[in-house]
């Protein structure tokens, strides 16, 4: 069962979920994708079988309500860096570089942290990260979608039931609050990434010399395959790229075991 803590980051409370234990390996810190984590997902349980896994909430995502004070990309990057630094305060601490895993929206911020606060990151794993845009091969516009409960799940997942399972309101949960929580997460993603998801991170990836894994779901309907390739070309350190079969944009929701397997193998690979 994951444990839950609350830390102060930049003057605002941030929920931290964690599970797993392995003193011989750095913890894996996970920055979630579109929608964030209303609860602990199966993917993180998979990762936590071999190491400590820490999932801090990104601003505006479930577990961290405050985000409208973040105006610029720099504000967001500082928040992400300070989130990593704040993990020292967890019971059991967390000093030393972490393995940073970022999906989608979280991937955009993970890449920035690796570029601008390199000493905090031992290895980087990105699952379909936002951060670049090509008008000839445009990303889907995740904010111009027909309203309705099925739209986003069908867009971001190959298996929408995986999204629905993550967002199923628990018995003691407030259905209205969960709806607001999901809308807030979409707004937070917009605040960071609207309109294109183009943060200019490609101009900074030459500063990332740690090993990086680039994953994407084979059926990602949000970001084209060429975007991961652009990241790969721009990164300075060793790069491994892989595709997760039978998975969409949030590959870690659609295929938790396969995604975790790729990441675990990468993080444990002594040859990199």
């Amino acid at each position: 069962m994951p444990q839950e803590h609350t830390l102060d980051v930049g003057g605002h409370p941030v929920r931290i979920l964690e599970d797993g234990h392995n003193p011989a390996a750095p913890p894996a810190v996970f920055f979630a994708g579109i929608g964030g984590l209303p609860q602990w997902p199966p993917f993180l349980s998979e990762l936590a079988q071999t190491r400590r896994v820490i999932a801090p909430s990104l601003p505006g995502f479930p577990g961290a309500e405050h985000f409208r004070h973040l105006d610029s990309l720099l504000d967001w990057i500082v928040q992400a860096v300070e989130t990593l630094e704040a993990l020292d305060a967890l019971p059991g601490g967390s000093d030393g570089p972490v393995d940073l895993v970022g999906s989608s929206v979280g991937g955009a911020l993970a890449a920035e942290v690796a570029a601008l606060a390199g000493p905090l990151v031992r290895r980087l794993a990105l699952i379909a990260p936002f951060g670049c845009f090509d008008a000839d091969e445009p990303a889907a516009d995740i904010w111009a979608q027909v309203p309705g409960p099925d739209t986003i799940p069908n867009l971001v997942c190959e298996h929408p039931a995986c999204w629905q399972a993550l967002w199923e309101v628990p018995e003691d949960g407030d259905a209205l609050e969960w709806q607001v929580m999901q809308a807030r997460a979409q707004e937070a993603a917009a605040r960071l990434l609207f309109p294109f998801g183009d943060t200019g991170v490609l101009r900074r990836l030459h500063r990332v010399d740690c090993p990086t894994l680039l994953l994407r779901g084979a059926n990602d309907r949000v970001l084209p395959a060429s975007y991961n390739a652009r990241f790969a070309d721009a990164l300075a350190g060793p790069v491994r790229s892989a595709t997760v079969a039978d998975a969409g944009h949030l590959a870690e929701l659609d295929a938790p075991e396969a995604t975790a397997r790729e990441i675990n193998a990468f993080l444990a690979d002594q040859g990199l």
């Binding site: 105006d71 904010w143 111009a144 809308a183 707004e187 917009a190 609207f194």
Partner: protein
């Protein structure tokens, strides 16, 4: 009460199969549908219609702002207003309005509105809508999470620019200007009346009350659909201890006046069905980007939808709330989108609307859809000559309009193009 004449400036040549063949009248509407030679004709006809209304006796003429939109051809309402300043003697020129977050820097609004107020001799009503998602987010690329913050900061900058006597610096979150000193400044002091075209959010109502601005509900769905919103507005004013001066409010209503009811029903059917069938055909994917609605509004809407679903019975009319537009003329009439009839019928209904909704500023749409200039002027003339006299005294024995332009007593008159002064 005040009767203002509002133009949306719709493109009048959308094809018959527009709904079936095209996904949206807004944002990515097919440019092959556009003939700029026709737009040249449209603008000149529409300005003729506005000027006609001004001379016919309406208290004001209105224009508004839309972008990439087949039913609203005014991405720059200030251009239209400037054309009107020289050609209309209507008591008010109402720009409804400048969507503040879309102007960079916002002092452009302060400058252009000041120009309009000076050019018109103090007849400007300054409208400050937030703007629809289609206009602000998707056509003009504003971040939906920052739009309202930008809007409020832009408002503060404009109001300071009009009123601070010394050059000042503005170091805001979204705007940094070192030397703000707009020239010219408005004729009207301390500033032109400010009207806020809004939807149904409580925050807008509270803000209008706090700032003493007019709240204008510009719905296309008429008085029946508007009643709940206006009741909500007045309940909030009561709660805030504000008086029920009807001039705190504005409302939009389509009207169709004939010599007889039968004539009205025949003449205005086609333009009404054009408007409601084609002009409001918007792709729903543009309608609600995350962050456009505040969390408080989202909560209230979800709660009211849940309550409505719980209460909904077989007896409830299918279009209650006006969320899905009727397109058939009979439904349009039954639902109150358009008030149609002979002058006495229209006058009686308008009086009821203004009393029930407690609205002192009524904005009329006498031209709508693909209506010809001839018919628009017929509608306008009948309203001005036969409806207006029956209703214009409403509220005046009890309330004062503190939100109306205060023009110069003596204003310049344009010379004729041969250089001669007007007689």
């Amino acid at each position: 009460m005040k009767n203002l004449w509002f133009h949306l400036m719709p493109y009048k040549d959308l094809p018959d199969n527009f709904r079936e063949e095209h996904p949206s009248v807004w944002v990515d509407i097919d440019s092959s549908l556009l003939d700029s030679k026709r737009v040249h004709q449209h603008y000149n006809e529409f300005l003729d219609e506005l000027e006609f209304a001004g001379e016919a006796g309406f208290d004001g003429v209105c224009c508004n702002e839309h972008h990439q939109n087949g039913y609203g051809l005014m991405p720059s309402p200030n251009l239209i207003a400037s054309a009107l300043t020289r050609r209309t003697s209507a008591p008010a020129i109402c720009v409804m309005g400048n969507s503040l977050a879309l102007y960079n820097p916002p002092t452009r609004v302060a400058e252009e509105f000041a120009m309009l107020d000076c050019m018109s001799g103090g007849r400007l009503i300054a409208g400050f809508p937030v703007g629809t998602p289609m206009d602000t987010i998707f056509a003009c690329g504003q971040n939906p999470s920052k739009l309202r913050e930008r809007y409020y900061e832009a408002h503060d900058l404009v109001m300071r620019a009009w009123q601070e006597p010394e050059t000042f610096s503005f170091d805001g979150r979204f705007n940094q200007l070192r030397y703000v000193n707009v020239w010219p400044r408005p004729v009207q002091q301390p500033h032109p009346p400010v009207w806020i075209p809004g939807g149904g959010s409580v925050e807008t109502w509270r803000w209008c009350a706090e700032k003493d601005y007019v709240y204008s509900y510009l719905s296309y769905f008429g008085y029946k659909a508007g009643e709940a919103t206006m009741k909500g507005f007045w309940n909030e004013m009561d709660r805030l201890g504000k008086d029920r001066n009807p001039y705190r409010a504005g409302f939009l209503q389509f009207v169709a006046v004939g010599e007889t009811e039968q004539e009205a029903l025949e003449l205005y059917r086609e333009p009404a069905e054009y408007f409601y069938g084609r002009c409001l055909h918007v792709n729903p994917k543009w309608a609600s980007p995350a962050g456009y609605q505040s969390e408080a509004t989202l909560r209230a809407r979800v709660q009211s939808q849940v309550a409505l679903a719980a209460q909904r019975s077989a007896a409830a009319p299918p279009n209650a709330g006006g969320r899905r537009a009727a397109q058939d003329w009979q439904d349009i009439l039954d639902l109150g989108y358009v008030i149609a009839g002979d002058p006495d019928q229209v006058a009686e209904r308008i009086r009821e609307v203004c009393v029930n909704l407690n609205v002192g500023h009524l904005m009329l749409l006498c031209q709508f859809g693909n209506m010809s200039t001839e018919l628009a002027q017929y509608n306008t003339r009948l309203y001005a000559e036969r409806v207006l006299p029956q209703i214009k005294d409403l509220f005046d024995d009890q309330w004062q309009d503190d939100w109306w332009p205060k023009p110069l007593a003596e204003r310049a008159t344009p010379r004729a193009s041969n250089g001669a002064r007007a007689a």
